[in-house]
Subunit: 146 residues, 2 copies
DNA sequence: TATTGTTATACTCTATAACTATA
DNA sequence: TATAGTTATAGAGTATAACAATA
């Protein structure tokens, strides 16, 4: 038994739990043509309106190359708009259209439905504790990235 | 404020935390040619030696079709072996080779390294609480699937 | 020179559907 | 008929590298 025998198990539990949630969400969102990557991009953009594509790539933790086709598709579906950046002629500023904002509402509804369903078996107190611990973990993890 | 305003946030936290862990793991395992799907298949097979491909697909929660190329690749790399099922001539029994078992050890090492690194900022008590809550969540979630 | 975003290309993972060989 | 596994085909998501335009 080493210094922390449960670190590995903790990682496995985290991934397994997330997988349960993601698979449920993927199925539910899929009915509305919303893939995980699209949802992530839309909600990220909603939190940071006017982001450039590079900003989005950094925030999402993916390569710049991965953003282009996603934005292409979302733009062609009328959910987001590319606008020229007045300060940098190489860049675009991305914004949600009215349709995109309506989709954000739909996403929020679906997320709430899936979340309440999936966490319904967990007592409220456990849910609160879990949220607190996950927040603490994310704080320490993101602090170490800098 | 509805019955449980934090369910959505809890889902987001769970996915975000898992993503931190997975991205770190993906990078680390990738150095050894171990993709997430390969690791999942190998560790699952290690827990259930002699599984048939259909069993693996069910356990992994993917289509049968997704298993074939994975098994092909792992077999051609000498990590697993297909053996005819004596009771059903349509089916294969999969087993880990010695090389596959060595890879399992390597995977365990890497998982431990990544886990200890990523959870190092979280006090031991929080880690234990987090593990307990995730286990409780998985229990309720998998109970509902039946 | 460095950076923004694109095109070109390729890889991993997954799915559905049609097929074969067995059950 | 149903099932185990394969082949065929397709799609999403991502990566690296090379490029154009701009900083």
């Amino acid at each position: 038994m080493s210094s922390d025998p449960s670190a590995t198990e903790l990682g496995e539990l985290l991934v397994a739990a997330s997988r349960v949630f993601s698979q449920q969400g993927r199925a539910r969102f899929g009915e509305y043509g919303l893939s995980p990557a699209r949802v992530r991009l839309l909600t990220t953009l909603h939190r940071r309106p006017g982001s450039r594509m590079r900003d989005l790539a950094d925030t999402l933790g993916v390569s710049g190359r991965a953003v282009t086709p996603l934005v292409d598709a979302l733009e062609s579906d009328g959910l987001i708009a590319r606008r020229a950046d007045p300060d940098d002629r190489r860049a675009f500023r991305l914004t949600l259209t009215d349709t995109g904002l309506a989709t954000i509402d739909q996403i929020a509804d679906l997320q709430r439905q899936v979340s309440e369903e999936i966490f319904s078996g967990l007592p409220a107190r456990d849910r609160n504790d879990l949220a607190r611990l996950l927040r603490a973990f994310l704080d320490t993890a993101s602090a170490r990235e800098c």
